[in-house]
Symmetry: C2
Subunit: 534 residues, 2 copies
């Protein structure tokens, strides 16, 4: 077989990236990226958010990005050699469409209505989230098993109810309410399709959506949801969404009829790129937040995890998710509480402040400062799952230095990761290998070493520069009928980059410190949460 490519395209929060995977050599043959001109908007262009706090995007940015990165990554290559296309996207970032899959926000009639625009994953609809959670708990909806009993205020049905309540006329006009990634894939294959991946994790899908009676139980006037805005064929993970339609093929310079994968959530696509797509493989995405995605053949309940979805990412395996705050906490501290003198010292050495603080942190002994931090600055999203909890810094003295607090924040992040992984394991889910990706995994060696010492495990950093885009290409390569997803991941996943290994002495100290951290965690988080509730 001659040269052939798989094309993966990753749509992130602020930009899109394409990666061209050479299926013969297994190497990346090219990449391209494009920053969305409209970025993140707090209200419709020229309009108003009506006092609501939301983060909107312009779907024209997505289509523009798609054409540009595909054309650019293929420049000098023969587009006819592309054998499959895969797309990953942030989730849940949905938008309302008309019958022709035209975004309502692109129509003059709806342009000024915030609810007509794609709402970014981190836009929350709190009151609607509460209503839906209450109804689900009251009815004991089976989907709660896979959401671990929770309903996030960012998920698709929640955002849909927000549209209904805030903009009823627009709601009635919407033929579909769809993940933006599903919308892009639907345009590529020429018919409305939804991927089981985001549907399972963020839309209550579990061999089907909940019955209409569930939505009516939330609000008696909320009828015809599944047969209405949630319409569209569901594409199981591991199967193609369809074939590239002529119009899309022409627009992108790709062969008509090649398989197109269903949308994969961007973080999940990284699992394919990292190789952690087997029983016991875990990908930890370490960025503003941390998300630990474990694949397991054992579909055991894991109370305290954030998700537990069968066939959601790898056919035949359960995917568990656990999450907690990470970089956002460091950033707030450095931005707001790190004195100018340290920043000046860093600047004088020509270092950025993080590099400078990381160097200091790397020189400190475990727990040297005596500080203990519960990093619940955005609530506890770990095993306690209580978003009303707040952060705690204990061990402060008149001599506590800012760099010591930074170090303790790194330690807290590692303890939080450990508590999540221990939770997996005490529930019978074994972790055989941890691969890390994300900005912190690549740039913060001090943090990575602390994590390795605390976890007493090897942590391999994924070497891929564009993990999700590569993952989409890997995923797409499994749709040509020539190889299984398992084979595709084995052959095309990026090799491990730097590997962090625990230092026995530091690990020993951290064992004691972790026990103390856990006591404070339980004392304030479980026994006396009222003392640290917002």
């Amino acid at each position: 077989m001659g040269k052939r490519y798989s094309l993966g395209i990753d749509f992130g929060t602020l930009s899109a990236r394409a990666v061209l995977l050479d299926l013969e050599s297994g190497q990346t043959a090219g990449s391209a990226s494009y920053v969305y001109p409209h970025g993140v908007m707090s209200c419709p262009p020229g309009g108003s958010a009506g006092g609501r706090r939301m983060e909107l995007q312009d779907p024209a940015d997505y289509t523009e990005a798609l054409e540009r990165v595909v054309r650019e990554v293929l420049s000098g290559e023969d587009g006819g050699l592309v054998a499959a296309v895969g797309i990953d996207f942030t989730s849940c970032t949905p938008l309302p469409l008309d019958d022709d899959l035209t975004p309502l926000c692109s129509l003059p009639k709806w342009r000024s209505i915030p609810d007509a625009w794609p709402k970014l994953w981190r836009s929350f609809a709190l009151p609607q989230g509460k209503k839906i959670a209450e109804a689900a708990l009251r009815r004991g909806e089976p989907f709660l098993e896979q959401t671990c009993g929770k309903v996030s205020p960012e998920w698709l049905p929640v955002k849909l109810l927000e549209v209904k309540e805030e903009s009823p006329e627009l709601y009635r006009a919407a033929a579909y309410y769809m993940e933006a990634g599903d919308w892009l894939v639907s345009r590529l294959v020429g018919e409305p399709v939804r991927s089981a991946n985001p549907a399972s994790f963020k839309c209550f899908y579990r061999n089907g959506f909940p019955g209409e009676e569930f939505f009516e139980a939330v609000d008696p006037s909320w009828t015809g949801v599944v047969s209405g805005p949630l319409r569209g064929r569901i594409v199981p993970v591991g199967q193609k969404a369809g074939k590239l339609c002529r119009e899309a093929a022409d627009r992108l310079g790709l062969p008509e009829g090649i398989p197109v994968g269903g949308m994969i959530t961007d973080a999940h696509a990284g699992v394919y790129a990292s190789g952690a797509a087997f029983d016991g493989g875990m990908l930890s995405v370490l960025g503003t937040s941390a998300c630990h995605m474990l694949q397991s053949a054992a579909g055991l309940p894991a109370p305290g995890a954030a998700a537990c979805v069968k066939d959601g990412l790898v056919p035949g395996l359960w995917t568990y998710e656990a999450t907690h705050l990470m970089g956002d906490g460091f950033e707030r501290f450095v931005g707001c509480f790190c004195p100018e003198s340290l920043k000046a010292e860093a600047a004088a050495r020509g270092e950025n402040i993080y590099a400078f603080l990381n160097e200091k942190a790397a020189g400190m002994m475990p727990g040297e400062s005596g500080l203990t931090v519960l990093d619940w600055f955005g609530g506890n999203r770990c095993i306690l799952g209580d978003s009303s909890l707040t952060g705690v810094i204990a061990g402060l003295t008149l001599r506590t230095e800012p760099a010591e607090i930074y170090h303790a924040l790194l330690e807290a992040a590692a303890f939080s990761m450990k508590v999540n992984c221990d939770n997996y394991e005490t529930n019978g889910l074994s972790i055989r290998r941890i691969v890390a990706t994300g900005g912190l995994a690549r740039k913060n060696a001090a943090l990575m070493q602390i994590i390795s010492d605390v976890m007493e495990r090897e942590i391999a950093v994924c070497s891929a520069d564009e993990g999700p885009a590569l993952g989409s290409a890997v995923y797409a390569s499994s749709l040509t009928g020539e190889r299984t997803l398992k084979d595709a991941v084995r052959d095309y996943a990026a090799p491990a980059g730097r590997i962090f290994r625990p230092d026995p002495e530091r690990a020993g100290t951290y064992r004691k410190l972790d026990a103390r951290w856990l006591k404070l965690h339980d004392l304030l988080g479980r026994e006396h949460p009222e003392l640290i509730r917002r």
Copy 2:
């Protein structure tokens, strides 16, 4: 009776002040101050501390200051009209003397030895403090009743043992080891005298020093302490130390033979100046630390207080002390964790950063930020009396602002004051009136209002500019035989300045917040101190 004066001289940490009190009008007729040229030294001039951390002073600064401030305050007045002299001094700030009351550090032979110099109150001798505390507890020494079971590493016997252990030859050469204030008074009256005031609070005096066997129990080779370095007549509070000797009278331009008061600890002298010298009167000195000095006719045990001394300050009354960190915590936060942007904003308004933060704090509602602070940054010196505890900030979120932490620090200081005062009252000691003095009382109205709201009490700020010096003058005026100490305080104490009164609504909110604060206090401070131990 014609015009007559009482002269009070206050020796602080960095300077001395004199106040001339007009006994006819009750007004201050003049004041003068002098900054010690040598300030605080970390080692003997031209010498070395030998790796020890200590804060030394030069006794020549004291004698120079005495002459200068007395001469200056009398300039233009007739020194012959001075009827009595009183001196207050920091404590415990002792020095070794030879038989002629000459400081050993002034002799060439001892000049280079750190232990020959006065050691400032805040110089600690930790190992010696531990030894003495252990012996006292083991033997159940009666003096522990008045020190509330504690031995501070800054007290006179502790510092004396440090001299013995670190500089045995010097120890043998010392005829006396004496509070610097006692030394000054001894020079004025021409014979070695010690005031019962500092001796009771900081030298285990209780109708006499402990027997020699106590010191021998600390260290069998520590013999002849009471008959040796602790020699000197004890002057009870309320009685004169002696008459001004000719030599001192000539040197200072004062009448020979006038009564001289025994040294009073500087903070205690403020009690006379503030009028809080009656049953139920409490003076709160609010500075780097807070000290709450309550006078009571009920000599009930008050576990958790820092001192409980009969006849130590007002004859016939017990004086209780309770203490906790205050301004040192604010200063550390503002110095180390307050961002440049806030300081720049303050500077742009021409305000210092504290005034700026206080203004912001005054505009916040009680507990608005959701933060709870245990301000044990220097250990808990309050009712828990555990110096190994550390500080805690709870309630942190990604939106917590530095000004909110500052506000929470002010609230924590108020809660700490309340827990001390509640401890007095639950032990049966009633507080009838609170007068506040010190830098924070005079300059930080935001703090004072929070204290008043939290305590649900009026807090009067003492109007005296030079509280301790005025207090020494008031005290001295009671030694002429014309009036009792009670009358002197009634006639000459400074009137109340600004009075802070609780706002009922804010007080109501603080009642709930205080309950929460107290729960965290007990949970971490009593039930789980191991989680926040240094």
